[in-house]
Structure formats: structure tokens, C-alpha cells
Amino acid sequence: MVSFALLFPISILAGFVGAIGGMGGGVILIPALTLLGVDIKHAIAISILSVIATSSGSASAYVRDHLTNLKVGMFLEMFTIVGALAGARITIASSSAPLYIIFGLVLLGSWIALFAAGHYSWREPQKQDAVSQWLELEGSYPDQVLGKTVHYKARRAYFGAPLMFGAGIIAGLLGIGAGAVKVLIHDLVMGLPPKVSTTTSNLIIGVTALAGTSVYLYAGLIKPGLAAPVILGVVIGAFLGTRLLVRLSNQAVRRVFLFILLILAAEMIFRGLRGV
């Protein structure tokens, strides 16, 4: 069993780098744990448990700042949790090598999403469709930078919902928050303002991770001795990263993160192809 002295600092680092890159710790944590010799299914199970802590921790602040749209979150949760249950079951039934490859591919996808995210700008709401209107998917939030309340209307909920089911599958399957995927759906499909989209995705991630975690718990894949240092480490790392991000948030940090992500993606795919 991997020792506390090794797991704890690695988890802090994973949480830190994840937060700096605007993602959860999972994308860094899982490759790191497997490099330490932890079986990938155990790594996935522990990661998704720690995702509950990091996402709930940051969601609590965003919700109280009135940035999160609870109705959008609670509507979309219905789809992500079912996806997560299915995804976790697939992982348990699967062999290890394909998991490495899928993980690498999703990292590559997140890389592209993050790369593209810099080029997206939100526009004022157009006409809302009947479905989204019936679902009351609209809101407003106090924008500190603009110094006014921004009103918005979400669109195409009928299209966003099934896509969220897919995001849930990825989360459950790989033990990550899959925040990049969720934000992409919020932004491009449903037309939410960026701040609302990231904070609402955070809220959804916690519940989605819980659905996945309970499947892994029952399968006996969560070892508390491994989970404890990881949960503590990732939360501490994420907290530090978020604090630092407020002061840093420049292009250089983004580039370093994108670089790390790319290396990890290549490494995971390579290991998967080699048969682990």
C-alpha cells in the first residue's frame, strides 16, 4: 500500500494544479496515483470521492455569492446522475487497458475544450424556446466587474439534457468531475453566461460524483486508508490553487497547465496501448 507521506503531497499537488487550470483535481490525481502503483480502478474510485469534497467546497462559496443557477443545476442533475451510475458500472465491468485509453482521450478532449474556451464570448439572450421557458431556466446574477445585475435566459434545454447524460457517463466512468465537458454544454448549447456556467457545473459535479461514488463503494473499490490522505490533500491543494489563481490568472499559468495536461494524456494513452 502506498504510504501517507507519498500520497498526501501528491494529492496537494494534484488539487493545486487542477485548481490553477480551472479543473478539478481528478485529471491530475488519477494519472499520478497510477504512476505510484495504485490500480486504475481504485484510483478512479478514490478520485470521484474526493471530487465530492472539492466541488462541494467551491460550490458553497459560489452559491452564496448568487452566481449559481439552482434551477438549471437541479434540472440537469437528473441526467448526469443516471449517467454516472451507468459509467461507474461500465468501469467496474471493464478491464484496465481500455480505461487508460479512454482517460487519455478525455484528457485530450479537455485540452481542446480549454484551448477553445479562450475564444468564446457570451452574448445577451435571444428568444428563449418553449421548453426552456417552461423549465423556468433563467436568472440574474450580480456581476462585480460590470457593477450591475446581468439577466440571462438559458436555451435548448432539450438538447443540453441528453448531452449532460453523456457528461455524467464520463464522470462516473473515469472518476473525474468532467467540469470541462459540462461547462462546454452550458456555454455553447444552452447559452449561459460564463460565470453562471462554471459555478452551476460545480454544483452538478458534487451530486454526480456522489452517484458514482456509491457504486464504487459497494464494489469495494474505496479503501479509506488511501482515500483519507487524498481527500485532505486535494482539498488543501485546491484551496491554495484558487487563492493563488485570483492573483495569477495570466497566460503563462494556462500554458503550463495545458502542457501538463497534454503530457498526461499522451502518457495514459501510451500505457493503455501497451496493455498497461
Binding site: 500500500m1 504510504s3 501517507f4 470521492l49 465530492i52 469534497a53 462541494s56 467546497g57 460550490a59 458553497s60 462559496a61 452559491v63 452564496r64 448568487h66 449559481t68 439552482l70 434551477k71 437541479m74 434540472f75 442533475e77 437528473m78 446522475i81 443516471v82 451510475l85 423549465l135 423556468e136 436568472g139 440574474s140 450580480p142 462585480q144 457593477g147 450591475k148 445585475t149 454544483l203 458534487g206 451530486v207 460524483a209 456522489l210 452517484a211 461514488t213 456509491s214 457504486v215 463503494l217 459497494y218 464494489a219 469495494g220 474505496i222 479503501k223 479509506p224 486508508g225 482515500a227 483519507a228 490522505p229 481527500i231 485532505l232 482539498v235
Partner: protein, 139 residues
């Protein structure tokens, strides 16, 4: 409610429904915050206790074929042995962590049902609650 300066503009124009939404925000935010904090506290205490008891931080136990409630029940029984008590704290920390989003959803159901009388969202959140309950009771 204590409204920070930046929200003045909002509170002035807020309709009744929006004001209620804000209360909901505060409720959900606090559930998540205190849940995570309690969980971390339990895990930390378990680790520290173990350190003072045994001089190491090794917890080599597995939880197989148990859902959350079976786990807590089993750990409670084993905690009768003094040397296993730090382990109980660790397992409880994990249990509290898992229950945090669950309680958030539970509170939302009641909020939509009782305070907002929004049947549509009471139904949606209930569906989420049912699926989560099912997953926590997996066997």
C-alpha cells in the same frame, strides 16, 4: 439578511421570487460548506488519533460489498474495540462527505415543496433524491 454592498442593486430590484431564491442560495451554500468541513474534521481527527495510538498513519482495511449505511453500522460495531476507533472516524468522515450533496438535494425538495410551492421543481428534485437514495442503498 446581511447583504454585501455589491448586491444593493439586486436587492432593490428583486421581486419576491428572487428574494426567495436568495434564501435558497444561502441554505444550499451552508449545507455544502458545513458538510465538507465536518467531513474533513472527522478524517483529520481519525488520522491524528491513529498517529498518537500507533505511531503511523496506516489504515489497511477494505470495504467490500457494503453500501454507506451498512458501512457505518459495521464500523460502529467494530469501534467497541479501542484500537479500531480512529478507523471509525475515518469511515464516518467519508460517510458525511457522501451525505453532504444528498442532504443538499433533500433540503431542496422541501424548499421547492413548502416555501416556493413550485411543483415542477419539487418533482425534479424528488427524482434526483430517489435516484441518489437508490444508489446509496445499492446491494
Amino acid at each position: 439578511m446581511n447583504v454585501p454592498p455589491s448586491h444593493h442593486l439586486v436587492s432593490r430590484t428583486a421581486s419576491k421570487a428572487e428574494a426567495r431564491q436568495f434564501e435558497m442560495d444561502v441554505l444550499v451554500g451552508h449545507i455544502l460548506l458545513y458538510g465538507v468541513m465536518l467531513s474533513l474534521l472527522l478524517i483529520c481527527s481519525g488520522l491524528i488519533w491513529r498517529w498518537f495510538n500507533a505511531g503511523n498513519l496506516r489504515f489497511d482495511y477494505e470495504l467490500s460489498g457494503m453500501n454507506l449505511f451498512q458501512l457505518v453500522a459495521a464500523e460502529m460495531k467494530q469501534a467497541l474495540h479501542a484500537e479500531l476507533r480512529p478507523r471509525l472516524l475515518l469511515s464516518l468522515g467519508i460517510a458525511v462527505l457522501m451525505l453532504t450533496p444528498f442532504i443538499r438535494v433533500l433540503a431542496s425538495v422541501f424548499y421547492f415543496l413548502i416555501f416556493q410551492k413550485n411543483w415542477k421543481y419539487a418533482l425534479f428534485t424528488s427524482l434526483v433524491l430517489i435516484v441518489l437514495t437508490y444508489s446509496l442503498f445499492l446491494r
